[in-house]
């Protein structure tokens, strides 16, 4: 097997894998190196697949209206900058799936409760559903929620912290979050104890543990 044959695809994994194999091949020979990784099963079938359309219908837990609200909050917490934000990578859809599969009902209810509270305050204050208010009004409202002040209490704040943790987790474990916003290294090679942080300017998106 030639070096070209080992890696002619271009996803970040494959590039890293190819670079690794090239390095390794100097040590033990290309064929042996390729064989080393050949036996691995890759499981992709069951992963949550980002869906550009997940606000057009109800989720596993949340109603369609709640999905829209959740998407808007995702966009406010982690917006699109040089890279896509939390809403663009369907973090709201992911959260609906993740809470359904991996969290008990009491945690799911925390999110439902705080979404409802946010909408309730928006209606009181702006006579509009949250999604109908301006960006500035939305930010003002969420900032009050984190204080908490002006109608929000400590329970609302702690429920929102839980939701925020889900948004951050969902974003930084997404392909964009982990490998574009951050730097993803599949096979780092020998550990280097000191590199200048400025050479990277961000953290590693590849981790031993994500929670």
């Amino acid at each position: 097997m030639s070096d070209q044959e080992i890696g002619d695809q271009s996803s970040p994994d494959d590039n890293s894998k190819r670079r690794f194999l090239l390095g390794l091949s100097r040590l033990v020979g290309a064929a042996a190196a390729a064989q080393l990784l050949a036996g691995n099963a890759i499981s992709t079938a069951l992963a949550y697949t980002p869906n550009p359309d997940s606000i057009s219908h109800a989720g596993k837990i949340f109603s369609q209206a709640e999905m829209v609200l959740l998407r808007d909050i995702c966009a406010l917490v982690i917006p699109k900058t040089g890279t896509a934000g939390a809403a663009e990578v369907d973090t709201h859809g992911f959260i609906d799936s993740q809470l359904y599969h991996c969290y008990p009902p009491k945690d799911q209810q925390k999110v439902s409760a705080v979404l409802s509270k946010i909408n309730q305050i928006a209606l009181q204050r702006y006579k509009q559903h949250f999604s109908g208010t301006t960006n500035a009004q939305q930010l003002e409202l969420l900032t009050d929620l984190e204080k908490p002040a002006n109608g929000f209490d400590g329970t609302d704040k702690s429920q929102f912290k839980f939701l925020k943790g889900q948004i951050v987790f969902g974003y930084y474990t997404s392909e964009v979050g982990a490998s574009q916003e951050l730097e993803y290294l599949v096979v780092p090679g020998p550990f280097k104890g000191s590199i200048p942080y400025d050479s990277l300017g961000k953290t590693w998106g590849s981790m031993n543990r994500y929670f």
């Binding site: 406010l76 992911f94 987790f169 020998p190 550990f191």
Partner: protein, 574 residues
């Protein structure tokens, strides 16, 4: 590996039977096979093939069903296993199903029993920390009077440590410490800049404390032997417990199994739950094992001339306690009555953390698969603290904060995103790893009525920390707090916690070694005092826990015991 490696039914009388395929069982099989003995390795769980069955390896989070978290249904089935730090969606298949593996605990006690019932056992999921015991450890029981004297000393085991280290591959740095003898080392992993600074500071203020790079069963400079086994140097992915196709860390699959299989002397009986050992009252020897099929619950036997029990500290005790005969109504080789007693674990119940000021432009590349160690500095009676006996080590590391520590902070928008994506403060954290005294009261026994699905009596644990362990952890938290402040760390927090025994997954001592058959199960070569052809070489043989992670000592004791057993066989005494 070829297909006739695995067997189910067999009338053959094997030269040797090894029960268990983890760290100890793998070593027993390798050493027996290499000495020419036709060996049967018996494993209660399924086959796990190197590389092929590492299904969680190398999968990025966005391609995982739940981004590495485990779903509700599975955590219900693995309610105890999930307490292990290494339990994730990518590793859960290497942990047991708690519903199938019930056990009991005496009222008012808790024990977290973590299981790895598959070929390779917990060698697939271990933390790979590898440390020799010292003469201070082997003589502690004798010097302070707690527990029975180990029947061996460091010099007895030193050549066997070297033997297993060269094959397994241990990275680390020679430090010349009396309480932690050096191994045959591959180069150590690098420290980060703040770790180097903290090391210098600790060693300046505390001449008896040393901060060293952890010693790990990872290849950093593979030998010809390692490369010939298909093993290469560690790529610092730190995803070890998913399995490693580079064979960079030691496991049965990467290291001992290929060596054993290469001899042509190895057979493996998977899915074979050992019910009991078959004892021949006439010859006063073990002649084989009775097995229940893991899947269809049918019964079968395997026969052998010598048996190495390497089923784990708890597993081996269970098999022995359930092997009852006229000669041994309370379990085989249990004339002393200590079988199941003197159960120990390590105590990880003190944690200290703090911020490291500075080093803003320092970072690291790669995920180092382990941290640093401050070896026990209370390693002999004259160094004991005044409120308790024995000591503890500290292990931990420095790292920079990332989004995981900032995910609940206040704020929104591009600023919030930028803050999460940038590296935060450097943090330093260490956890104490305390010695647990061997106490008769801490035991595991067969439950009088409850059985598991294979018809084997369930175990009942009765194990708790004594005041000695509690006082030690309170002291460790305080000593650690003062040390962190002294070396300039900020916002230091120190906490003594109360996690139950078992969760260190360093169970030890249920069939302890000793010189006196009246107070111990095994002699100085891990041979049962009462049954000449039965050897027990896993953690159950420990007379004291010391503070070191025990697996390297399992390896050395096992290799030494096999060498002795084969010489005894050749001399006609077994």
């Amino acid at each position: 590996m070829n297909n006739d490696l695995y067997i189910k039914e067999s009338n053959e009388i094997f030269d040797a039977i090894v029960v268990g395929s983890g760290i100890s069982g793998g070593w027993a099989a390798k050493e027996l096979c290499e000495r020419g003995l036709k060996t049967l390795m018996i494993e209660r769980g399924r086959v796990v093939e190197h590389k092929k069955d590492y299904i969680g390896e190398g999968v990025p989070p966005w391609k995982e069903p739940y981004r590495s978290k485990v779903n509700n249904l599975v955590t219900e089935q693995q309610a105890i296993q999930k307490q292990c730090y290494a339990f994730t969606d990518n590793t859960k298949h290497f942990f047991g199903n708690d519903r199938d593996l019930p056990y009991q605990t005496a009222e008012g006690t808790t024990f977290s029993w973590i299981r790895g019932n598959q070929l390779g056992g917990k060698s697939l999921t271990w933390h790979r920390q590898s440390y020799r015991l010292s003469d201070h450890d082997f003589s502690a029981n004798k010097l302070d009077g707690f527990g029975n004297d180990w029947p061996i000393r460091y010099k007895d085991l030193a050549p066997w440590y070297s033997h297993v280290e060269r094959h397994a591959g241990i990275s680390g740095e020679a430090a010349g410490l009396p309480q932690l003898p050096d191994s045959e080392f591959q180069p150590p992993f690098e420290m980060t800049a703040p770790e180097i600074a903290i090391k210098a500071s600790i060693e300046k203020y505390y001449p008896d404390r040393h901060l060293i790079m952890g010693r790990m069963a990872h290849l950093t400079e593979p030998s010809e032997l390692h490369i010939s086994q298909g093993r290469v140097n560690c790529q610092t992915r730190d995803e070890c417990q998913k399995g490693c196709s580079f064979g960079a860390y030691f496991s049965t699959q990467s290291s001992t199994l290929p060596a054993a299989a290469q001899t042509g002397n190895l057979h493996i009986a998977p899915n074979s739950v050992v019910h009991s050992l078959i004892y021949d009252e006439k010859t006063r020897r073990v002649k084989g094992v009775k097995v229940i099929d893991n899947n269809d619950l049918s019964e079968r036997e395997y026969l052998g001339k010598v048996v190495f029990l390497c089923a784990s500290t708890i597993g081996s005790a269970q098999v022995m306690l359930n092997s009852k005969s006229k000669a041994f109504p309370n379990g085989i080789a249990n004339s002393s009555g200590v079988l199941g007693h003197y159960l120990m674990d390590h105590n990880y119940n003190a944690r200290i953390e703090g911020d490291i000021p500075g080093f803003e432009n320092e970072y690291y590349r790669g995920r180092r698969p382990g941290g640093l160690l401050i070896p026990n500095f209370q390693y002999e009676p004259s160094r004991y603290s005044k409120n308790y006996v024995r000591g503890y080590s500290f292990s931990g590391d420095a790292s920079r904060e990332d989004w995981r520590s900032g995910q609940e902070r206040d704020g929104f928008g591009a600023d919030f995103k930028a803050k999460l994506s940038r590296a935060g403060k450097w943090r330093f954290g260490m956890t104490a790893q305390g010695e647990m005294l061997p106490r008769f009261e801490n035991q595991v026994a067969l439950h009088s009525t409850m059985k598991d699905k294979w018809g084997i009596p369930q175990l009942e644990f009765n194990c708790r920390w004594s005041d000695n362990e509690k006082l030690m952890m309170e002291d460790a938290a305080e000593v650690g707090r003062k040390m962190f402040i002294k070396v300039g760390l900020e916002n230091v927090t120190a906490e003594a916690t109360e996690r139950p025994p078992g969760i260190a997954i360093h169970e030890l001592g249920t069939a302890r070694m000793g010189r006196d058959p009246k107070t111990s199960v095994l002699n100085s070569f891990n041979q049962c005092h009462d049954v000449d052809n039965l050897f027990v070489t896993d953690g159950s043989s420990f007379s004291s826990s010391a503070t070191q992670n025990p697996s390297l000592t399992f390896m050395a004791l096992t290799a030494r015991a096999v060498d002795y057993a084969v010489k005894e066989i050749k001399a006609g005494r077994i």
